[in-house]
Symmetry: C2
């Protein structure tokens, strides 16, 4: 009997996950508030669509109890309450809501309910955490960890050379929220968009990396003295975003401006969003590319080594699936496959780096991921 | 007995003009709506300050009749009504309001009242028109005329490397209003900010020139088949302004955005202005530089020649007068001096290029201008 999986959210990533789970033999229910989003999925595969108010944790709990396993692909603001509802319903869960809170605060609750929950299971966070966890366990010691990630349009168009593969407001949040990184085991804070550096990626060209606040659980759970996470864009985008930020266009402070009926107050960010986000939307069939590079240095069998993982993935023409949906959604479905096969021990709440300590786990994950067309290249260099 | 000159407007340029006129022996009255602006001038020289509502043409007419000559230095929106009031009061006038309308539409009225009015008498329009008119009369024929002009901060500061020497809203207007230029005797339209080209200026460095709508009367009154006017900025400013324009930040169309009490409509240009203009303001004692280059080509005594005029003027530390005020205000006062000496024939409304046909006039003007510290270099090159 195939496992019954409930996918919460029929957005770009939830849909891609549901279709992949159906294709790989799971019995899939997908739930969403919007009928049209559900119809788009159910029209393409043997998937049950269920319209429901997922902002209500009681509804989430009721639906979860009808499934063997739950995939959480809701907006980040709903992430924590949804995970709690699924845990309380006693169902294992793989979450890709990228909630702002620390998901492992629910670890006690999960143990109490005997539930295994894997969180932050996309590409980065997600695959990056698995590779980081692998390096932290394998290298003795692991000295540095660097994660570079970006989702970009394949065709570069002036002036932004950027489209958002997820909520554009979350992108701007990345451009303003101070970035935390680990420097000599201390968590230090850098300005967002800071420390730009140019990096080459085969077939993609030169990209610009800058500090973002993306280490998340890694900063707390891995014992590696130097860690940083940077976001990748085509060169020039950052300089432009810095100017817009400097102008005050990302500000949430009320500003007095002339209105139709006298002076009125407006938040510059709202105006910027209204003008910019339509230009940041991928068009139908518009191709994207996802780039992930993880670099770990340390000592392995007495030698100083550098491990480098590269993922370069593109829009899939055959299934009209954007790379951001593929790399994120298939990370979740690869994990679900391992969970269903009993490869994830529990109970508890697990950011992926914790699973990577288990010998062979990351290798099995990468096999599942590759079976879905997302290849991660790995090379080891011996250092001077 | 010295002539009595009324200066309308105690802004940066009117003030500089009033002080210069007082220094050169005129009996000066300066009028403005704002007491503080008047006090700043009367504290520095033997000038009579007169608080009055200059938005009222009747008031302007009454004040004008008390003077021998009037300098119009009011905002451009008041330019035409003020010039009309001065003409109807029967007084000669030198105007630097840079009104959007065609001032010479009042030529008939001026002739009827026996009044001589010189308009657009700043640096560009102004000095540029005199040099263009000189070239159009001297070269037989004059084939091309190019005018390059910019007012810039001496110190370049990220991200704009720009401060506005006059109303910033008029600057943004220059960045959006289509530019008219003369191409084969036809008036053609180019997008504002278009056709950027790099040019070097001694002691200033490389500047970027782009099309603006600055030919004004030259496009109609000079018989030169190719004419263009471009604005100068430090390189990079234009690329940035093009992005902001592309984003819609210069738009005057109402945009729906979230407000404190539900959705509200706002004009992006109002938000941009509120955020940007404070950053475009010159600080006290902050130095500026004015750059003007006029290039004329044509046939002179059987040879193909190129005349090039260069003006590079800087903030005057001794008198704390910005270059934009000097170059504009002293163009007006140099003209007033020539008018008072009977060098400008009339009656009628004269953009400066029409005065340039009079042999020796431009040379006398440039002597007056140089006596005030603003030097225009002139060189002639013989072309291949």
């Amino acid at each position: 009997m195939s496992s019954r999986v409930l996918v919460l959210g029929a957005g770009m990533i939830g849909s891609a996950a549901a279709l992949d789970l159906a294709r790989t033999g799971f019995d899939v229910i997908i739930a969403d508030t919007h009928r049209a989003a559900l119809d788009a999925v159910t029209a393409r595969a043997q998937v049950e669509g269920l319209q429901a108010d997922l902002a209500d944790p009681a509804t989430v709990g009721r639906l979860a109890r009808q499934a063997d396993l739950v995939v959480g692909a809701l907006p980040s603001v709903l992430g924590l309450q949804t995970l709690r509802a699924v845990i309380e319903a006693g169902r294992p869960c793989c979450d890709i809501s990228f909630m702002p809170e620390h998901a492992w605060d629910l670890d006690g609750l999960a143990r109490q309910h005997g539930v295994t929950a894997v969180v932050d299971c996309g590409v980065a966070p997600g695959v990056s955490n698995l590779l980081a966890g692998w390096a932290a366990a394998r290298l003795q010691p692991c000295r540095t960890l660097e994660i570079y990630v970006g989702g970009l349009p394949l065709v570069r168009t002036w002036p932004f050379e950027y489209k958002a593969g997820f909520a554009p407001s979350d992108v701007l949040e990345e451009y303003t929220r101070p970035a935390r990184l680990v420097d000599g085991r201390e968590i230090v804070v850098r300005e967002a968009l800071s420390e730009p550096e140019l990096m080459d990626f085969p077939g993609v060209g030169t990209l610009e990396a800058f500090n973002t606040d993306g280490l998340r659980s890694l900063a707390y759970l891995l014992d590696v003295p130097f860690m940083k996470e940077k976001t990748l864009r085509y060169p020039g985008h950052i300089a432009l975003m810095r100017v817009l930020r400097e102008m005050g266009l990302f500000s949430k402070d009320w500003l007095l401006v002339p209105g139709e009926h006298g002076p009125q107050r407006v938040r510059p960010l709202d105006v910027t969003s209204a003008l910019m986000f339509p230009k940041w939307r991928f068009g139908p069939g518009e191709a994207d590319v996802t780039v992930l590079r993880v670099i770990a240095t340390g000592t392995e069998e007495g030698r100083e080594v550098r491990h480098v993982w590269d993922l370069v993935d593109r829009y899939d023409t055959a299934t009209d699936t954007r790379s951001m949906s593929r790399t994120t959604g298939y990370a979740a479905t690869s994990m679900v496959t391992l969970m269903a096969a009993g490869a994830v021990k529990g109970p508890g709440v697990f950011p992926p780096e914790l699973l990577a300590r288990d010998p062979g786990f990351v290798e099995r994950f990468l096999e599942e991921y590759a079976a879905r067309g997302v290849e991660v290249e790995h090379r080891v260099e011996t250092m001077g």
